[in-house]
Amino acid sequence: MNARRFAQQIALAAAPALLAGCVDSQSVLNPQSGEAHDLARLFWIFTTVCSLVWVLVVAALLTLLLRRRRPDSTPETDNLEQQSRKTAVVAGLVALTAVILVLFTLGSFYTTRGLIAPGPHPLLIKVTGAQWWWQVEYEDSDPTQVFSTANEIHIPVGRPVTFDLEATDVIHSFWAPNLMGKQDLIPGHRNSLTLTADKPGEYRGQCAEFCGLQHSHMAFLVVAQTPAEFWAWRQAQLKPAAPPASGQQALGQHLFVEGSCATCHTISGAGAGGKTGPDLTHFGSRSTIAAGLMANTPSNLAAWIKDPQELKPGVNMPQVPLSDHDRGAIVAYLEALK
């Protein structure tokens, strides 16, 4: 009775830990693109076949261990017929193992080969990894259609999207488990990754290559939208920043552009053109701050500007001395940049 209660407690304690791996928006087991479906199918085939083989082997082993052995049965006393039967069983099992492994190899080869086959007319998005955020640039042959954002990637459903992956400082890795496997971002080398999202949704991604102090706080969001929604989003992103709508916002813009914020951040249309930090032209439309560290709310933003090193130690954003009044104005201005 005691042992049973103990087992129950163990199970209760283990359940949350196991379920924690089942977050739908960041899971390889919840595939949401053609490529992720192929990978998940491979995963389930491997897992099922290997589990089946393991169960059969263990069952056979237990049966033989538990079966009472005939006292006179040794290899020497086996007759010719028994010996050849044993040889045939062993040879058959070896052949079966070889066949399974060859099928696994072929399945793995053809699935992964299918992943790198280029699709027709993909949407090109350049993703640059930096310590510790993601720069996202939508490429186009028409320069008026090019724009830049950060940490949040919108893609249309049903159209192949090719990510061109680069890095500015160290090696990072782009991983949105619901959509595709990992791909490294390497300084001085361009990698690419193509995927086609199945249906609208928000999927979380994460840097999957240790890249320094804040590696764990280098997340991004992929927002898959219907083509019409994506088009509307894209048109909104192409516009310059909204002009300040109040006196407080105008003060915020002035402080941002004339002060040290504009040294690193761009707000197109406002006169801020720094390129070493994330583009903030449509900052208010994004759902997180500091590469997925916190939700984008005015109070979180104020805390972030007040002391970035407290929230994300080692980050390149400095602590800029500002009065509460001035900081409030900058927050009001940034949050209005929808």
Binding site: G259, T263, N316, P318, Q319
Partner: protein
């Protein structure tokens, strides 16, 4: 015999203890008030490497190159027009100088200016060797030495 063991043991302990002091990274030091308190910037490898990063980001390279100078004066020699102490270099970056050096006081935080000043000091090796950057972080355009074609030795060199 036992004294030899004792010596080896002492040496081993000393070797292990060397690893105990790890450079501290103070992410939030707050602005220093004078050159006396700012000196730690040129004794800290992290601050100097951040200075190097900012030197590239703020495009100091555009005029001063990687210390050799160009449009602006060289920084790796011992010729300082406005003084070569940490405080003087800091003031030059903060307030700007005639004939082209822009003022960064409103564009960078004071800590960042101290970091760049410390990096500038490291160019001419005015800082301790163990904190100065030993190699460029930037991408190299030439191949690594180990990957260059083998050169045959030249005999009879002067």
């Amino acid at each position: 015999m036992s004294s030899a063991f004792a010596k080896i043991g002492l040496f081993a302990v000393a070797l292990v203890l060397v690893g105990c002091e790890r450079e501290k990274r103070d992410f939030n030091a707050g602005p220093p008030s004078s050159a006396a308190t700012a000196e730690h910037f040129e004794r800290d490898a992290y601050d100097i490497s951040q200075g190097e990063r900012l030197y590239g980001w703020m495009n100091c390279v555009g005029c001063h190159s990687h210390g050799g100078g160009g449009i602006g004066p060289a920084l790796s020699d011992d010729n300082w027009i406005y003084g070569g102490t940490l405080q003087q270099i800091h003031d030059t970056i903060r307030d700007g100088r005639p004939n082209g050096m822009p003022a960064w006081g409103a564009r960078l935080t004071d800590d960042e200016i101290w970091q760049i000043a410390a990096y500038v000091r490291s160019m001419g090796r005015y800082v301790a060797k163990d904190v100065a950057p030993s190699r460029q972080d930037a991408m190299q355009t030439s191949k690594a030495e180990s990957r260059r074609p083998r050169l045959s030795p030249r005999w009879g060199a002067p």
